[in-house]
């Protein structure tokens, strides 16, 4: 079943929408979630919650890209869950590696409180990504969005881990420079 048909099921309030979404995208969401929470059980719960959120939000939302839409929900829920259980669960699972690696990757920019400013920040980051080489952009997004461990990113692209780290390092520096230039508090 294609995405448009699944979305129509949501709009028709057919519970098949959930089943079809799960069939098609649960694995994807589970992978994203597992990379963040580091536990199969937690990841599974996040996937279930993701489907519930989708059910509750479509309609009114009509996502252009259901995969990314669900992935975003799964990511957000997983980050929330990770935060909630960090103190108890830190050290479990593979995700810790990925989280630790993030420390040197995320741009050190103070997020604006204002929603509009935050959107402006996001626009700048998106524009920045559009200016980068494809490999660099992919590596960066795989790290900061999918939270894929460096070693896995390296495998995906057939490059060394240190080159991957180097790319991330450079991307961070460039991004910070751009944001600073645009007046964001870096």
């Amino acid at each position: 079943m294609n995405d448009a048909e699944i979305i129509e099921l949501y709009f028709a309030r057919s519970e098949d929408a959930i089943r079809e979404s799960e069939k098609k995208y649960a694995g994807y969401c589970r992978s994203i979630s597992y990379g963040i929470v580091g536990s199969h059980e937690d990841a599974e719960e996040c996937v279930n919650d993701t489907l519930l959120r989708a059910w509750n939000s479509i309609p009114p939302n009509r996502p252009d890209n259901l995969r990314v839409y669900l992935g975003r929900i799964a990511r957000n829920l997983s980050i929330d869950r990770y935060r909630g259980t960090m103190s108890k669960k830190r050290g479990e699972g593979a995700s810790e590696v990925s989280w630790d690696e993030l420390q040197n990757v995320l741009p050190a920019v103070a997020l604006p409180d204002d929603e509009e400013d935050e959107e402006a920040l996001l626009r700048s980051i998106n524009a920045f990504l559009g200016e980068q080489k494809e490999l660099y952009r992919k590596v960066f997004v795989q790290k900061v969005w999918y939270l894929v461990p460096v070693r896995r990113i390296a495998e995906l692209h057939g490059i060394s881990e240190s080159k991957t780290v180097s790319i991330l390092y450079r991307m961070r520096r460039k991004l910070e420079a751009k944001l600073r230039k645009e007046g964001f508090p870096v």
Binding site: R30, L106, I125, H157, S160, S162, V165
Partner: protein
């Protein structure tokens, strides 16, 4: 202002879906997706070994540069050829609007690991690479000398390679991981000059990627017999002295003449990963900035039996990469008793 990394992380959820889709590590043909993340230390270890070797690898050409630097172009290495170096907003997707709230059927589903489709498993090819126009070496030699470097006279035309069998017969071979030679392309050059005789082994993983363009990591290994080192004149002799290392600082005339920094340490400290992140060590890096790009360079030497191994790292050193740049020599490959050279026995 919110400053926590986690906030930034969450904010990034709204990245443009083009980038999210493009970078999707779980898309496409079958791959192992997230499953491998749960794999154990053996994978990490194996990967580290492969990567460590990979770093060493990119260095084929630099070897020659070093050699020439020693033969009269000091400082060349730190000056990269300028012509060879490159240099829609989404919204948060968390839906909040709930209409009627029919409870969906509980989503069951075994937490089976997701096996995405399509990402081919990268493999490292041990196949020797022979660039066009390069004299074909004897069959079991995994060597390459990139044409451009030879064309520019940066490599001696009379270089020769050793076969793996020949290499194994070399006594120093035991100090280098066999994995290096069986997995990666390598080049062995014997060099002689008035300072003595030495051999350079370099490993490379992707010769199509210019070292200077791909400056993430470069490692080469120069193997000398200690006797040659002793006879070698100039700064490296000083640098190979542990006491000299200890006192080198920015005022050191060696550094003033040439900002390359040479290290010599006994095997144990430098090959302990944690030591490589030591602030003191990091401060020895030569830091370059050109065209808005920055990179780091560091030399260090290590004694092993009757040999001295000199390594070059060039790239961006971070705490993470610092743990990675030892090719083939390290805790995994060497046992302390194999290498222990009493400091007092050093005769430089």
């Amino acid at each position: 202002m919110k400053t926590e990394n986690n906030d930034m992380l969450q904010a990034l959820t709204g990245l443009d879906e083009r980038w999210i889709e493009e970078a999707d590590p779980y898309a496409g043909p079958k791959s192992d997706g997230g499953v491998k993340r749960a794999e154990g230390a053996s994978v990490i270890r194996a990967t580290r070994l492969r990567m460590a070797a990979g770093f060493a690898v990119a260095a084929i050409v630099l070897v020659a540069v070093i050699v020439l630097a020693k033969q009269g172009l000091p400082g060349f290495l730190i000056k990269k050829p300028s012509d060879q170096r490159p240099g829609g907003g989404g919204t948060t997707a968390t839906p909040t609007q709930a209409l009627t709230t029919p409870t969906p059927e509980p989503v069951t589903g075994t937490p089976t690991p997701y096996i995405p489709e399509g990402t081919p498993t990268p493999t490292l090819s041990p196949t020797p690479y022979t660039p066009e126009g390069t004299p074909t070496p004897t069959p079991d030699i995994g060597i390459v000398v990139p044409d451009p470097w030879a064309e520019h006279g940066l490599l001696p035309r009379d270089w020769h390679s050793l076969s793996l069998a020949e290499l194994k017969s070399r006594e120093y071979y035991r100090y280098l991981s066999p994995e290096l030679f069986t997995t990666y392309r390598y080049n062995v050059m014997t060099q002689s000059n008035k300072q003595g005789h030495y051999e350079v082994i370099s490993f490379t993983r992707d010769l199509n990627d210019s070292i200077w363009e791909n400056d993430s990591n470069i490692i080469l290994v120069i193997v000398r017999e200690k006797e040659d080192v002793k006879n070698y004149e100039g700064r490296r002799v000083n640098a190979l002295d542990l006491d000299a290392y200890a006192v080198i600082d920015n005022e050191d005339p060696i550094l003033q003449q040439d900002p390359e920094v040479f290290y010599s340490m006994k095997y144990s400290p430098i090959f302990r990963y944690e030591e490589l992140t030591d602030e003191v060590l990091k401060h020895r890096l030569v830091h370059h900035e050109e065209d808005g790009e920055t990179y780091d360079q560091i030399w260090f030497g290590v004694e092993a039996g009757d040999y001295v191994f000199e390594y070059l790292f060039r790239g961006t050193l971070t705490d993470e990469t610092a743990t990675l740049f030892i090719p083939g020599v390290g805790e995994d490959q060497l046992q302390p008793e194999e290498l222990s050279v009493p400091y007092d026995d050093r005769q430089y």
